[in-house]
């Protein structure tokens, strides 16, 4: 019972925190330079791991899919399945999971370290709202960088799938491209990017919240970073499932 109450308390505190972040993000002063700096840091930190995570997925979809599609003589349509799977599901989910692992942990660790070392108090004494200066830039950076990474992973995922379907699997290039472009609609792209932004928002908020509410020592900073990764990845996968169900239900 205590555990349930504590969880509800944390959830309530997180919702209040999200409200505070939203107010701070849309009212001056906004620290644009700090936001751009965080975007640069997070993009550099995430681009290679995200690429390495998504590229093999496209390859595996083609590798496994081609043998199944061949049973029905429909290997020419493999790219339809590959494109939908990559654009709508794997690319947003994997890009966001890697953003959670790389960016979320680094934001939580950075803010937690600042808190433990008195730098958050130093900001407050200098009349700087720590939520505006350290949390909002991190959240905005996640919201913007996650979909940008997803664009890259869309291309990489489809390319690696093409490699295993066309040169290796023997599917005709023209047929591959025809079914790919016929199946992928702008809605698929926007849905994927929208999901990435939503997941990025969750990563930034949870990382900021856990970082600011860290305990007193170095071990607590590590725990905040770890908790950020675990909780955001679970959240991303659950929300991804719920959003996909809702969109399919709505005919999108």
């Amino acid at each position: 019972m205590d555990k349930l109450l504590r969880s509800l308390h944390t959830l309530g505190a997180l919702v209040m925190f999200a409200g505070q972040v939203a107010r701070s993000a849309f009212t001056p002063p906004v620290y644009l330079g700090e936001t751009l700096r965080m975007m640069n840091v997070l993009a550099k930190r995430c681009v290679i791991p995200v690429s390495l995570a998504v590229a093999p997925v496209g390859a595996v979809i083609s590798l496994q899919g081609i043998s199944i599609f061949k049973l029905f003589g429909a290997e020419r349509m493999l790219s339809s399945f590959l494109g939908t799977a990559i654009f709508r599901e794997y690319s947003p989910a994997l890009a966001s999971v890697m953003v959670a692992a790389q960016a979320g942990s680094s934001i939580a660790a950075r803010i937690g370290t600042m808190k433990v070392r008195g730098q958050i108090d130093a900001l407050a004494v200098m009349s700087v709202d720590p939520v505006r200066f350290v949390v909002v830039p991190g959240v905005l950076a996640c919201v913007i960088v996650a979909p940008l990474l997803s664009v890259l992973t869309n291309l990489l995922g489809v390319f690696s799938g093409w490699v295993f379907a066309v040169p290796i699997g023997g599917v005709d290039h023209g047929a591959f491209m025809e079914h790919l472009t016929a199946q992928i609609t702008p809605a698929d792209l926007w849905i994927g990017l929208g999901k990435c932004s939503l997941f990025g928002l969750g990563v930034g908020l949870i990382a900021g919240y856990l970082g600011l509410n860290v305990g007193k020592g170095a071990a607590d900073v590590g725990k905040a970073a770890n908790d950020t990764v675990v909780s955001t990845i679970v959240l991303i996968l659950l929300v991804d499932y719920a959003v996909s169900m809702a969109l399919l239900g709505a005919g999108l």
């Binding site: 950075r110 370290t113 070392r117 008195g118 108090d121 130093a122 407050a124 004494v125 200098m126 009349s127």
Partner: protein, 266 residues
């Protein structure tokens, strides 16, 4: 820094009125009342864990006392709730009159020494980058770390970090400078240099200093007002000559480093 909210010159810099603060069962400040006049150098002495740092944090609104008033240039900081927008604005206006040297420096790890000292200037002044550069160089030269402008805090020794933090605390000529253990981690020569810098800033810019210290030599050198906290209570406070002449037993124990006396080792 120019006063953001002009106050009559006869209003003291700081007044604590019956301030108490507890953490759980542990009372760290117990009915503390004192007045620190503008332009004075007040040194608060006392053994570890007697609430000296808590007192500083109450002054800038980082902690709220359980009871009592904390007046900074007449504004009751203890009555301001940082969560309320109107109060936050007033609290931030009060805080802009402070510079604070934290015990561990609290420099920003991902900024260079230069950017750390320039940070409050960029935030709270309209100075050009050229003027900021000159002023940062001046502040760093005063504390003897001009050569480390482009280094990061992690590349500095503890003493150097402390000096950079002091340069940041005085960056925008605050009305009040709070120093939490300024001499800890410094060698005796650098400690004396910092004391002289405090005296010079006091003399030339009229800054008010409130210094938390264990260093009795520092207290004798710079203080015009001395206070002593022991067991949460302010056991003595007043002009330095008078306090030294009265020689309260707790102060005597502190200065003579005696293990027997009113200060108990917990």
């Amino acid at each position: 820094m120019a006063d953001l909210t002009p106050t009559p010159s006869d209003v003291p810099a700081v007044v604590l009125d019956n301030v108490s603060k507890s953490f759980g069962d542990h009372t760290v400040l117990d009915g503390v009342s004192l007045t620190i006049e503008r332009g004075s150098i007040a040194v608060m002495l006392g053994p570890s864990g007697t609430g000296k740092s808590v007192l500083l944090r109450c002054l800038v609104g980082l902690l709220q006392p359980d009871q009592g008033r904390v007046l900074v240039f007449g504004e009751d900081v203890a009555a301001l709730d940082e969560k309320r927008a109107a109060d936050r604005k007033r609290l931030f206006a009060v805080r802009r009159r402070f510079g604070m040297l934290f015990q561990d420096g609290a420099l920003f790890d991902d900024m260079t020494v230069f950017d750390n000292v320039a940070f409050p200037m960029r935030l709270h002044t309209d100075l050009s980058e050229q003027a900021i550069h000159e002023k940062v160089s001046d502040r760093l030269a005063r504390v003897g770390v001009a050569h480390a402008e482009q280094k990061f805090p992690s590349e500095l020794s503890g003493g150097m970090r402390k000096r950079v933090a002091f340069a940041r605390a005085i960056a925008i000529d605050p009305d009040i400078v709070l120093c939490d253990e300024p001499s800890s981690g410094l060698d005796p020569v650098m400690s004396a240099t910092l004391d002289e810098l405090i005296l010079e800033l006091h003399r030339t810019l009229g800054m008010t200093f409130i210094i938390i210290s264990h260093d009795t030599a520092e207290a004798r050198k710079v203080a015009d007002t001395i206070g002593m906290l022991a067991n949460g209570k302010l056991v003595t406070f007043g002009p330095a000559e008078r306090v030294f002449a009265e020689n309260h037993p707790a102060l005597e124990q502190f200065f003579t480093r005696a293990t027997v006396g009113p200060i108990k080792v917990v």
